[in-house]
Point group: C2
Chain length 608, copies 2
């Protein structure tokens, strides 16, 4: 039943050799890997205006130079990540780059931030998209959290089905969103050009504004830079591309950067020219759309595709998180299970964990994840800074042909990213301070995990271990609960292994019971030694383990191995298990984890 | 850690021989077994008035004859249960009496209703008590459910500590409540006698009232009878009494009956004389107290002890449920685990299950359990009717000395109880219909459980089974995941059991891996046969079980037994388990439940 449900949801299992068919072509890759970055256009320009409005509406013209700054940063980031893709064609992005060039700690800081960041991406973007939907249908508002969870589950299942299948489905909304914004910008610019929009709506560029400061401008710049989150996703996901993977990834990255640049500048310019002021309950994009089209079909088309792309931005997390996790797991910093491919050849453990953790975040914040946005942005700019600094170090160290312009690009990127990160700490400290707690915590955890794997490796390696002590013979302990067919069965097996060293053990709770059982046993198996252990506190495990200890001490002296045979009867139907005391299972787990004793389970399958 | 928390909460374990010290003296038994019955005085009289008010306030005088009817029923029930106690000194009450005299189905109907009823007792009385408290402190109102759950947990823990300890703590509030009501009645009657209360407040007895009908009077009578729920508890709990248990139980029962009769008649009479009309937000007892004392200390004392006893009424369920469960479990109708005594010699599984189920009820009904009261009353009167009919049958069948008066008493009890049950169905059908669903469902479940236990017994009994086939030799299958110390260890053990019949099995996911491993194995253990099972779908269990099937078929032909040895390494710390894929455990459970194969677990304890 369960397995057919699984088949229905995620499809038939794929052979390992079918991996090639699960690779992405450029247009699909662009759709699923850039949804996060492109969706930021829906809120990035607004963030700039929200800072400027604290001075006055006259300051809005500053959004133009700030946007140019963001575009410079975007250009630096795209160029830098293009270089990273070619330099590290197996993916891993910021983590691998920082680790190789700056050392293990910067690598872990980058990897840890990104790991947390992808969880935030999923939670924040699904919550934002759900908000957009429930604002349109207010009767759904009380079910915000449930709706968000359903979306996360759907995206998780889509990703478990495999990356190509999710790409096929998710590509439409992404391209529709891009199309919608292009139409908006085209019509808007046409109206401006034909003079249909009054130029009095905005203050001219260069107007002097009282109260403006460099600090404020930097703050506005940092806020606007949140539109650039998600540009690193492609460099993490190179292994998902069709061959030649690095070239395809690099072209996709450039396509994404160009789209992002055009959309971002278009929205900023229209907002400036229309003189739009951010409002609490209507987004800037929505205001532009209303100015341009009125509340007609195009307005709702733009609103609808915006809500969709906000939700789908989550998918970028699903593409990048499992691959980053594979890289960390290969280096033994997180559990090995993240490297296992699931039935559909995706790294299903990473996908499932990502879904689970983001659902936990959504539930914990009751769907109100807006105040996680600064945290999320800082979690992106720290790895940006580290990876580009890493590239700077690489160029200086290796000095390949034509390294100077590359160095310049990466240096500019590193400096700007660093300034942005710093601005987040300076201006939004009470929202981002937790980064200073959880990054060290994650790194400590990474190290503990790595240490454990290394310890295990040391202990298992044959060369470093003392040779095993040869086993001279076996002593078998057989706990019995009565004289039944189950016991007879187990006893037969014990005799086949070691006929002369069998001890049956019975644990009576009452004295009378003890004698009666000894009597019965003498008739049943006179040749097998029976030990009874009276248990006044009605515990079976305690006297039994004490007895095993004694036997083990004696047996150990002559290199005999002690085996405990546990008869276990298996009922025909699952619910029958509730009707039995499961003492066998309790004894099994207790002995296995506490004692160094071999345990043999002899099943007795009930037939009815 | 967990076990020291357990020690702290419930105390040190007790030896089986200390059972005698856990028995109850009469005064303590009265306190914990009659809290349910006595607490009903707080709402029983009100139930009568609530029915009469539907005609007019003039009809209130009918409460006096109705109360006399309730007293007759009480007398019949007490006399009858007294006879049951002597006839069935091992407890079990309605279940045992009905089963022995009327047959298995009436017994199960009685037992099933009571089992459900005790869960309802706990949920309803704790919710009612919590309501009384939060009415006094309205700021606590939003936490109703949480407070109720905390109370259930406290009572559960008290009962797990043992019946004498809970009796010592719970006796005070019960006796304080009785004292409070006696003072109330004394002062009230004194005021009436001295003429301080005007006699015009009530209509005289015998006034003719328009619209009164026999049906209405019977309905009022049935509602008033809900004050008698809980009188059967003592007959269930005889084994908890100090010796001579039946005599002590019988005296306690009579004491309880007398107290109940006095308190019930007193409250009904005062309510009638004061002319009290039931109100939505002030209880009848509270109105009487206010009339008598004003809102002074005594008023709040009465309110406080009432709230307490409502909560403690739950304890009656805790005393009776586990003992009823033991009786049902001994007859194999419910899981055997209910017969096991816990560390403190109480039937702890019954106590825990009762606590859990009532918490589930409280949560499901969000603490609004009032509409469960009729269900709860009908669940008591069905067993009342059955047990007394059972006694009637017994007297007719056995005809002991002086059986005629006994027969009369039980017959009256049976008829009145039957009428009350019927009235519940006729007048409150939409609240009690579910009894008609869940009683058959429970009986069906009882039978399925019994059938399973009987099937198991048949299969395990030696005489009825075919003799076990002798084992000629052993074939050992050893799944290996690499060449490590763990594998070497398991291999040594396998060699000590059956040096010539060992097959190592390796499941590679990739073809290259297969050849490389075979190569390495030839160097490591050239004498041990290695089988590699390439698994294109990356499943270990599937190819392994298929292989085991093949081996088993061949081995079975020559009476060889197949044993699978599973190397399991045990990390030093619990959390380390998360870092390993637990394939061993997965294979173990899968093989154990699906295949008839013997499984030996060779632990390898990591040292760091």
């Amino acid at each position: 039943m369960l397995s057919s449900l699984k088949r229905f949801l995620i499809g038939r299992p794929l052979k390992s050799t079918e991996l090639g068919e699960q690779k992405l072509i450029k247009t699909k890759a662009l759709a699923i890997l850039s949804s996060d970055a492109l969706s930021s256009v829906a809120y990035g320009p607004e963030q700039i205006l929200l800072v400027l409005i604290t001075v006055s509406a006259a300051a809005f013209w500053y959004s133009i130079p700030i946007a140019i700054g963001v575009l410079v940063l975007l250009f630096a980031l795209i160029s830098s990540y293009r270089q990273i893709i070619y330099a590290y064609p197996h993916g891993g992005g910021a983590y691998v780059v920082s680790k190789e060039n700056l050392g293990i700690y910067p690598g872990l800081i980058a990897g840890g931030s990104l790991l947390v960041d992808y969880i935030l991406t999923v939670a924040v973007s699904v919550s934002a998209g759900t908000d957009a939907i429930t604002s349109a249908f207010p009767s759904l508002h009380p079910y915000n959290v449930v709706i968000a969870i359903v979306f996360v589950l759907c995206i998780t299942i889509l990703n478990l089905r495999g990356v190509t299948e999710s790409a096929s489905i998710l590509a439409y909304p992404v391209y529709l969103f891009v199309l919608a914004l292009f139409i908006l910008m085209g019509v808007g610019l046409y109206k401006i050009a034909t003079g249909a929009v009054l130029p009095e709506l905005h203050t001219p560029i260069g107007t002097s504004v009282a109260g403006i400061s460099l600090f404020l401008l930097l703050k506005a710049f940092a806020s606007g830079s949140s539109a650039l989150t998600g540009v690193e996703a492609i460099s993490n996901a190179i292994p998902n591309f069709k061959d030649p993977a690095p070239r395809n990834a690099s072209r996709t990255l450039i396509a994404m950067g160009s789209l992002l640049a055009v959309l971002f500048s278009g929205i900023v310019y229209l907002a400036y020219y229309y003189g739009i002021t951010p409002k609490a309950d209507v987004t800037v994009v929505s205001q532009i759309a209303e100015h341009t089209f009125g509340r007609g079909f195009m307005y709702f088309f733009i609103q609808g595709t915006t809500a969709l792309i906000l939700i789908l931005a989550a998918n970028t997390g699903y593409s990048a998180f499992p691959l980053l996790a594979v890289n960390l797991a290969k280096d033994k910093f997180i559990p090995r299970m993240f490297t296992a491919r699931g039935d559909r050849l995706g790294y299903s453990n990473g996908i499932i964990i990502l879904g689970l953790l983001s659902i936990i975040l959504i539930v914990a914040f009751e769907g109100q994840t807006e105040h996680l946005i600064p945290l999320y942005a800082v979690g992106v700019f720290i790895p940006f800074t580290l990876s580009q600094t890493g590239m700077v170090v690489k160029w200086i160290r290796e000095k390949p042909k034509g390294w100077v312009p590359k160095l310049v690009i990466n240096s500019i990127g590193a400096v700007i990213s660093f300034i942005v990160s710093l601005m987040f700490f300076l201006t939004k400290f009470q929202q981002v301070w937790s980064v200073l707690v959880f990054i060290p915590a994650i790194i400590y955890l990474f190290h503990r995990i790595r240490k454990h794997y290394e310890d295990v490796g040391d202990q298992l390696r044959l060369s470093t271990c003392e040779p095993a002590i040869p086993i001279e013979g076996n002593v078998i302990i057989l706990p019995v609960a009565g004289i039944t067919h189950v016991v007879e069965n187990s006893l037969n097996y014990a005799k086949s292994l070691s006929p002369h060293q069998i001890i049956a053990v019975y644990v009576p709770f009452e004295r009378e019971d003890e004698l009666a059982f000894e009597e019965k046993w003498r008739k049943f198996q006179p040749d097998i030694r029976l030990v009874t252990l009276h248990s006044p506190y009605r515990s079976i495990i305690q006297p039994l383990t004490k007895f095993i200890d004694t036997v083990q001490r004696k047996a150990g002296a002559s290199n005999y191995q002690v085996t405990v045979i546990i008869p276990q009867f298996i009922p025909k139907k699952g619910w029958h298990n509730m009707l039995h005391n499961q003492s066998s299972l309790l004894i099994l787990t207790h002995l296995l984890y506490r004692k160094n004793v071999i345990i043999t389970t002899v099943p007795y399958h009930l037939k009815k």
